[in-house]
């Protein structure tokens, strides 16, 4: 029982921990690819007006001299039916997609986590049953179908579609956190905190929640991809973003009419969706391996 059991210095140890995590994460090339794709997309989205050759093409811009041009050095991804640069529009669409995913998740995660915490902590009581049965009801409806129903009633707009997606997404967080808390509440350290007289609030917030954070973040990074995919799907069928908003789904559906001749109009936005969704999924998988989580 001497000091040799201890790390040399704390700072040294934390750097070591970070290095260990870093090397564990980078051991899998796919995680690195995922992270790079995500960072690239975020960079492009933030600096869209500076990295795109024709920022004004993002909105309602018409140039009939340049319509239906195939990819060239002037227009990397070609131009669309009204002469707008597809490359510029894809980059601006990333902005839109990311904003959307962030909005949906920030609306969905807090209530989901809160309800999951309560249901898991009061496992086996009426609180648990009430929350989990309501959750089950919501889980029974497929998100895309509900989004279709909502938008066809309230009118097609991205806001309505995303409201429907939010409504359908929180139960997954409830289930995730519920499962975690149901087992964490029986940990000795939770009992130990209860014995010293900590409040239920303290136990939930300061002891249990910090142990769930890695799972929640991993699920969020996986969900970004899903939400973007869903939004693109809604726009593709015409119920999501409306013209002239640059949106990947809308662009794909506009170009799809002219396949295979004017292939660049739908092909490049599709690759755009692929890159962003793949990036977030690979990143999420990498995080899951890093935190050694199995339940997501």
């Amino acid at each position: 029982m001497t000091a040799r059991y201890l790390p040399q210095t704390l700072r040294g140890f934390q750097t070591e921990r970070f290095k260990e995590g870093y090397s564990k994460f980078t051991r899998n090339p796919f995680s690195v690819i995922g992270l790079s794709l995500v960072l690239l997309v975020i960079f492009l989205a933030i600096f869209a007006p500076f990295v795109t050759p024709y920022p004004e093409h993002a909105g309602s811009y018409v140039n009939f001299k340049e319509i239906n041009k195939p990819p060239s050095w002037k227009h990397l991804f070609g131009t669309d039916l009204v002469g707008r640069d597809v490359f510029s529009r894809v980059i601006f669409a990333y902005r839109y997609s990311l904003l959307l995913a962030i909005t949906v998740l920030s609306l969905v995660v807090p209530p989901g986590v809160l309800l999951g915490l309560l249901a898991g902590y009061y496992h086996g009581t009426w609180i648990d049953y009430t929350i989990m049965r309501i959750t089950d009801i919501f889980l029974a409806v497929p998100p895309l179908i509900l989004a279709l129903a909502v938008t066809s009633v309230l009118g097609p707009s991205m806001l309505n579609a995303m409201m429907a997606v939010c409504l359908m997404w929180w139960p997954w967080y409830v289930r995730l956190v519920y499962g975690l808390v149901s087992s964490l509440r029986n940990e000795y350290y939770v009992h130990a905190t209860a014995v010293i007289g900590a409040s239920n609030f303290h136990i939930l917030w300061r002891e249990i929640l910090p142990n769930c954070v890695s799972s929640i973040f991993t699920k969020m990074s996986l969900d970004v991809g899903w939400v973007i995919m869903l939004a693109a799907a809604l726009s593709f069928v015409g119920l999501g973003a409306q013209a002239p908003t640059p949106d990947l789904g809308t662009m794909i559906s506009d170009g799809a009419t002219f396949l295979p001749d004017l292939w660049w109009m739908s092909m490049f936005p599709s690759i755009g969706v692929l890159i962003i969704v793949l990036g977030f999924n690979l990143l999420g998988d990498g995080l899951r391996d890093l935190f050694a989580l199995e339940e997501i």
Partner: protein, 323 residues
């Protein structure tokens, strides 16, 4: 003993409802702890000792019975089994518990320092504004003979060895100066040499602070070292209690005898004798004496009636029909 009583458990029953079965895990346990007394609660695994301990800190709600705790803070007796909310909130700071698995009783995502401060904040709210709180934590860690407390405060539980974690737990439990400490197999997960160090440390600390201890273990050797009074438990009932020296030199209940014979002897060959059979099914416990199906000296009366305690001497009571 003319000393004041800190804890008195009377006829404690705990019934767990599991699916349709009713598990009578604790069945009429009574025990008394005096101020500064070290009680040992011993028995084989799953005989209800931990459940007893957990009832005292209200991690388990007893089905019936009384747990009277003499609170110094309130200056009165509290029935832990059915307390008035406010009073229990005050009194529970005087009862602390140390758990079996030293690593698991500390939260893995916080440093020792953070958790220590939290413990102090809850157990002794008056210490919040105390500028010396950090110094007190360091002193508490020094008391349990941890080297370089400053560094330990900044480390996470998984960076420390099991023995060190258990020392931290002991320091945390004792830093709030409890009247009663419940130690639930605190050394079971540690190896023998570390176990001995921890025991000596715990013994010295509680003796100095005059803390009453309820030490729950299945290790008779540990009981002999640490306890003033031993309660032998079998399947939710106390079968024999009294002075450990007397009980270990002259065990009268067949279960205690069996337990002592079950200890592996270093000098002998082969396996030790042990007790045939296993702990009964708690949903349908045996009638009469709960030990009778495994008892070598079983009689007809053991099946029909429950034995009551026979006083062998002032410090030795046995619940068996043989006497």
């Amino acid at each position: 003993m003319g000393r004041e009583v800190v804890l008195r458990i009377e006829d404690l029953h705990v019934v767990f409802n599991v699916l349709k079965a009713k598990l009578k895990v604790v069945d009429g346990v009574s025990l008394t702890a005096h101020s500064g007394e070290r009680l040992g609660l011993v028995g084989e695994s799953s005989c209800g000792k931990t459940t007893c301990g957990r009832c005292i800190v209200r991690l388990v709600q007893p089905t019936s019975g009384q747990i009277l705790f003499a609170s110094k803070r309130l200056g009165e007796n509290i029935d832990v089994a059915n307390p008035e909310g406010r009073k229990w909130y005050e009194a529970k700071r005087e009862i602390q518990m140390i758990f079996q698995n030293p690593g698991a009783s500390l939260n893995p995502v916080f440093t020792i320092g953070t958790q220590f401060m939290t413990a102090l904040r809850y157990a002794r709210p008056e210490a919040i504004n105390d500028r010396g709180i950090r110094r007190r934590v360091v002193e508490a860690l020094k008391e349990v003979q941890l080297p370089d407390p400053e560094r330990i405060l900044k480390s996470y539980p998984f960076q420390l060895s099991g023995g060190m974690n258990q020392r931290v737990s002991i320091a945390m439990a004792l830093a709030v100066e409890p009247e009663l400490l419940i130690a639930d197999e605190p050394t079971t997960a540690l190896d023998v040499t570390v176990q001995n160090q921890i025991l000596e440390l715990l013994y010295a600390l509680v003796k100095r602070k005059r803390t009453s201890v309820l030490y729950i273990t299945h290790n008779l050797g540990v009981i002999r070292e640490i306890a003033d009074t031993v309660y032998v438990m079998y399947a939710g009932t106390i079968v024999e209690h009294g002075n450990p020296r007397e009980i270990f030199s002259n065990p009268l209940h067949p279960y205690t005898q069996g337990l002592m014979e079950a200890i592996p002897k270093l000098a002998a060959g082969g396996f030790s004798k042990g007790i045939p059979g296993s702990i009964p099914n708690y949903s349908e416990p045996p009638s009469g004496c709960r030990f009778h199906p495994r008892c070598s000296k079983q009689m007809q009366i053991c099946v029909e009636e429950r034995p009551s305690f026979v006083e062998v001497s002032e410090d030795h009571k046995v619940a068996c029909f043989l006497l």
